[in-house]
């Protein structure tokens, strides 16, 4: 990469001592693949130039090739920390495009899954942040609970990592009693782990000193740099789509949770916001699982947007025709000829999709608004003037998911 960017440094004979350090793309603290070109003055970072694209796999191009149901298997691979949040976002927008109103049961199940995703994301993020700063135990505790969540995914869909569980107008299958049981036991057991992690980290001298006051993002800068989600909320931007533009069942569960906000905007505050958010998510899950409505998970078959039940496909000609129409590439859905943007509050921030529809079952343009991409752009502003060892502290607190960063 030509580094003209570096030429703009205040150079001259007196700045000759600046040196360049290449950080990544294969570095343990980057978790996956991203690269930073750091200009250092001794150990102080003078300038950081991120270089990304080491995982650019053409997601958006694939979205123009696969239909609305097929593409869900791709969007969850875009976010390997909380895949199901992406599936929910994608179908949320597709349903917005087609004007489908989901059944109450489906809304509740999706809400529970979205919140489980938030917990699993924050567990990995905080755990890995601690891991990078040398605290291995918290990471192991966090992963233990992630395994429980993987188990829940496996119960509902058969895949523990990328469930691909949502479908246009509903879900792949209805959930079983076992799911309810597992979620209930998760709700009961999780607070203990959470308390353990808090005890390990919240007042851990090393952890606090390495994160407090590091990478401060002011409110103005957070807004100017388009930040959303926990990162913006840690800087005092009171915005949460779950409250501001309620979708799924959040409107009905409005009173069960709070939006966690803070004003300091440093790495430690971002950590604290995430830790608190997990508890709020747990409240949502507890309320939703107890009030899980009965009924169908898919919208009415007559709306022609969902697949009929398997038995009726085998037994009645109408269902068979409908199934056939939905899988034939030249039939499928007929959304309006327009473009739509929709977003959900994913664990990382506002995750939106911008779909341009040409009236077929395949999106003409499937743009993702990736929170990681937008948050990583703040990195040069956050790290300037800090020490080299703070790079990992700031990186960890931003929760960069490389697949979403590069798409």
């Amino acid at each position: 990469m030509p580094l003209e960017a570096l030429d703009t440094l205040p150079d001259g004979p007196e700045k000759d001592y600046l040196w360049t350090l290449n950080f990544g793309p294969q570095h343990p603290a980057t978790h996956t693949t991203l690269r930073l070109i750091l200009t250092l003055d001794g150990e102080t970072v003078v300038k950081a130039v991120p270089d990304i694209g080491f995982l650019h796999s053409g997601f958006e191009k694939l979205g123009e090739d696969l239909d609305f149901n097929q593409y869900v298997t791709i969007v969850d691979r875009m976010n390997y920390i909380s895949p199901i949040a992406n599936e929910i976002a994608w179908h949320h927008v597709v349903e917005k495009l087609m004007g489908i109103d989901l059944t109450p049961r489906c809304k509740y199940i999706r809400t529970i899954l979205a919140e489980l995703a938030r917990i699993s994301d924050h567990l990995l993020c905080t755990g890995a942040q601690a891991l990078d700063l040398g605290a291995f135990t918290a990471f192991l505790y966090g992963f233990q609970q992630r395994e429980v969540i993987y188990d829940i995914y496996e119960t509902i869909s058969g895949q523990r990592f990328h469930p691909s569980y949502t479908r246009v107008g509903g879900l792949l299958y209805d959930v079983t009693e076992e799911f309810v049981r597992k979620v209930r036991s998760f709700v009961q057991e999780f607070p203990a782990t959470h308390a353990d992690m808090c005890r390990l980290l919240n007042r851990n001298r090393i952890f606090v000193e390495r994160t407090q006051g590091i990478g401060v993002l002011s409110k103005e800068l957070a807004i100017n740099l388009s930040c959303t989600g926990p990162i913006a909320r840690a800087s005092g931007v009171v915005r949460d789509l779950r409250k501001d533009e309620p979708y799924l069942a959040y409107g009905e569960l409005q009173n069960t949770f709070k939006v966690i906000c803070a004003t300091d905007g440093d790495s430690y505050t971002r950590y604290l916001v995430r830790m608190e958010e997990m508890l709020e998510s747990l409240k949502i899950i507890a309320a939703a699982i107890e009030n899980l409505p009965a009924g169908a998970v898919n919208v009415d078959v007559d709306s022609k947007v969902v697949f009929p039940a398997q038995t009726s496909v085998y037994r009645t000609i109408e269902s068979m025709i409908q199934h056939f129409e939905l899988v034939m590439p030249n039939r499928q859905w007929t959304p309006p000829l327009d473009e739509v943007y929709g977003a959900i509050e994913s664990p990382n921030g506002e995750l939106g999709f911008y779909i341009v529809s040409d009236g077929t079952g395949v999106a003409y343009r499937a743009r993702t608004r990736p929170p990681s991409y937008i948050h990583f752009a703040t990195f040069p502003y956050l790290i300037e003037g800090h020490q080299l060892s703070d790079v990992v502290a700031v990186l960890g607190s931003l929760n960069i998911i490389a697949a979403e960063l590069d798409r």
Binding site: K61, V340, Y354, Y364
Partner: protein, 178 residues
Amino acid sequence: MPARNVDRTKRIIMPFDTIITALKGRFADLATSEFRDNRRVVVAPAQLFDVLKSLQEEHGFDLLFEMTAADYLKYPNAVDRFGVVYGLLNTVTGERVFVKTVLNEPDLTLPSAFSLWKGADWLEREIYDMYGILFDGHPDLRRILMPEAFAGHPLRKDYPLRGRGERHNFPVITRANS
């Protein structure tokens, strides 16, 4: 940890129409459209920067939450080749507005929004990388996702999904030379 639970669903939202009237008073031939809850203003590239600036300064749209482009080469009945969409959000009222503009070859240049929102930096670089649309006044417009030496703009509709063979263009390491 301070936490707030404000019922912000009941806020007073400045009607979209007043914004439109105010904008229309300043800029002629401004088109608007609406779909679901997305409200769009369609402007010509020449007016784009002024519209964005007026939205930011006079109407409080302080967050650029989305910026993207689309190639309408194969879109049914499309007249223009590229469309660029800016999504603006007012963080106080939670209101959103989309500003859309269209572009045609050979003049693929837009004014950069970097001076209004620093967040536009990478978003513009991505659009340049994927579509080849240039942004005038961007401080550092170079490829961001694709390799520097890459030729072509992958999200254009005339670029094939499987590429033109770039992905096979590497030296092979066998056991003997490793």
